[in-house]
């Protein structure tokens, strides 16, 4: 009888506590609220050239003019501080930087780029007073933080600090350099024009881009978790601790390098499959397969115009 009472009491507490745990933060940021600062465009141009892998002259035109930078910072508290969190950050145009730190909240700095608001009238007698609004939504529910921004034309960078034990899903497209550092979790990253750089990652990661290198340095790799690294123009460069075990499936038109002695290449095997009519299909693919320290989960590395590196750190 006493037990039932205890159970009921606990249940009541849980039911009452539940609404308090979930919270939604909806942030609408208006450009006018931003502190406006002007920066030399040369810096941005240099940065962009470094972070993308050529082929992008088209968009550089607009960078020829001075751009405005506006920034705002917000802090998102977590419903369950200390427990593993998840960040889903999606944008169309802008660089994403996520760093793990020893704090309990998610800190987001939003930087907006745009044409300079002009002081003088231009030739046609008009003066630019606002350079296109943008907005983003941020919400938190049960330690899942979601930030969305969907402007194609205005570049918006996000610099985010999260507690170290966070899983990340990051998506961007243009100016899409993704940088992640000091995270202990599972990373799922996608860009198009921009490299993906991972530093001091503990856990697992998968990253795809088109124009840009993928470089990942792991301090530890979760065993038996498959990973996928895919780009078109750029190197794939992975560093893992010496004892890491995995199977590699690699494909490139260029070269593959490693400094692991315990790396074994397996014979290229044609894929044999039974087809419906009782015959066999045979497919010979130019995947290079190998294993590291005896093999483990599949790690796929694919590029067309770039080398593949597997290093020990």
């Amino acid at each position: 009888m006493k037990n039932i009472k205890t159970v009921l009491a606990v249940l009541t507490v849980i039911i009452m506590a539940k609404p308090a745990l979930g919270q939604d933060i909806d942030v609408k940021v208006d450009t006018r609220a931003f502190e406006v600062s002007v920066e030399e465009i040369a810096e941005i141009v240099v940065e962009d050239v470094f972070e993308s892998f050529g082929k992008e002259k088209l968009k550089r035109k607009e960078n020829g003019r001075l751009q405005e930078q506006a920034s705002q910072e917000i802090e998102i508290p977590l419903s369950k501080p200390g427990e593993r969190g998840f960040l889903d950050l999606a944008t169309r145009n802008g660089r994403l930087t996520v760093t793990g730190y020893d704090g309990p909240t998610v800190k987001v700095k939003v930087i907006k780029y745009g044409k300079k608001v002009e002081e003088k009238k231009s030739q046609n007698g008009l003066r630019l007073i606002s350079n296109g609004g943008f907005n983003f939504d941020a919400s938190e529910n049960n330690n899942r933080v979601k930030i969305d921004s969907d402007g194609w034309n205005t570049r918006v960078d996000f610099v985010v600090q999260v507690p170290r034990n966070f899983d990340l899903k990051l998506d961007t497209y243009n100016n899409g350099h993704i940088e992640v550092e000091d995270i202990d979790g599972e990373l799922d990253l996608e860009s198009y024009n921009g490299p993906i750089t991972l530093v001091n990652i503990s856990g697992s990661a998968s990253a795809s881009t088109y124009n840009g290198a993928i470089k990942a340095t792991f301090s530890s790799v979760t065993a038996d978790v498959p990973m996928n690294f895919d780009t078109y123009n750029g190197d794939v460069d992975i560093s893992v601790p010496a004892g890491t075990k995995f199977n590699t499936k690699m494909k490139t038109n260029r070269d593959i390098f490693t400094d692991f002695e315990s790396f074994t290449l397996s014979e290229e095997q044609p894929t044999r499959s039974q087809n419906g009519e009782g015959g066999f299909n045979i497919k010979f693919e130019n995947w290079v397969q190998g294993n590291l320290n005896g093999g483990g989960a599949d790690v796929t590395m694919k590029t067309r115009n770039g080398n593949i590196y597997i290093r020990k750190n």
Partner: protein
């Protein structure tokens, strides 16, 4: 009474003794080899037997005998198999040749059965086991493809790698992942896997249909690359739809146009 004297004694009883044999007989009696009293007793018994009537079988007895005989005949006719079995048994085991032939036949049947059936029985068991295994793998990989975490879904793709194409459920689950998974990395893994089975017409068809399902330029371009490799003309129309879409980034359109030109 000793046996050697029996013939003498019987002849004496029947009164058939010659003079010499009579003398011999008398000599044996005097010597004590033959006990006269005993001989007399035997003589009296023989006389008694001769005097008594021989019993004649009654008519009823004869009738009974024939009825029983007929009944027995009828019975053996019904149990003919018994009779043949006995007969075969007799032929097979009654003679050395039969035994040898029987042994040879058994050996031959054994060899034939052994080669024909025992091998396939082993194989059936093996097949059953492996089908159970693949069923388990199927259940597991389909469940994992449905998981919340990216790593789990990637594991699901990896696990399905040996089942795709031969297992319809896994193949269709893989297409659901290819077309609907929210992570481009998981979709890409599914594409890498399915691209190994392009000779399977169902998979090839599924990949062509998948072109219009993809929103990520990375997936559109990866599929374009594959279709160029396969020179798959049916894909051209799908790519043209993407090229005409106003939301497709200009540079993706350019690359797709290049790919389409390579297919033509």
């Amino acid at each position: 009474m000793e046996e050697q004297y029996i013939s003498l004694i019987t002849d004496y009883i029947d009164d058939n003794l010659s003079i010499e044999r009579k003398r011999e007989f008398d000599a044996y009696v005097v010597e004590g080899h033959i006990d006269l009293n005993e001989v007399n007793e035997l003589m009296a018994f023989a006389a008694k037997i001769e005097k008594s009537d021989a019993p004649l079988p009654s008519a009823a007895l004869s009738d009974n005998f024939y009825t029983i005989l007929n009944a027995e005949r009828a019975k053996t006719n019904i149990d003919k198999s018994d009779w043949t079995f006995d007969r075969i048994w007799q032929v097979l085991f009654g003679t050395n040749g039969g035994r040898l032939a029987f042994g040879m036949v058994i050996l031959l049947v054994g060899v034939v059965l052994g080669r024909g059936y025992s091998g396939s029985a082993y194989q059936t068991e093996l097949k059953m086991l492996s089908s159970q295994m693949s069923e388990m793998r199927q259940l597991m990989s389909v469940a994992m493809l449905d998981g919340d975490a990216v790593s789990e879904r990637l594991k699901g793709v990896q696990m399905s790698s040996e089942l795709v194409s031969s297992n319809k459920e896994v193949t269709s689950a893989m297409f659901v992942t290819l077309n609907n998974d929210e992570s481009t990395n998981v979709r890409m893994a599914a594409l890498n896997l399915l691209a190994q089975y392009v000779n399977d017409p169902i998979i090839r068809e599924g990949l062509i249909n998948s072109i219009s399902e993809q929103e990520s330029p990375l997936m559109q371009l990866a599929l374009a690359e594959l279709m160029v490799e396969l020179q798959e003309k049916k894909s051209v129309e799908e790519f043209n739809d993407i090229i005409e879409d106003e939301f497709t980034p200009e540079e993706v359109k350019t690359t797709l146009r290049e790919s389409v030109n390579k297919i033509m």
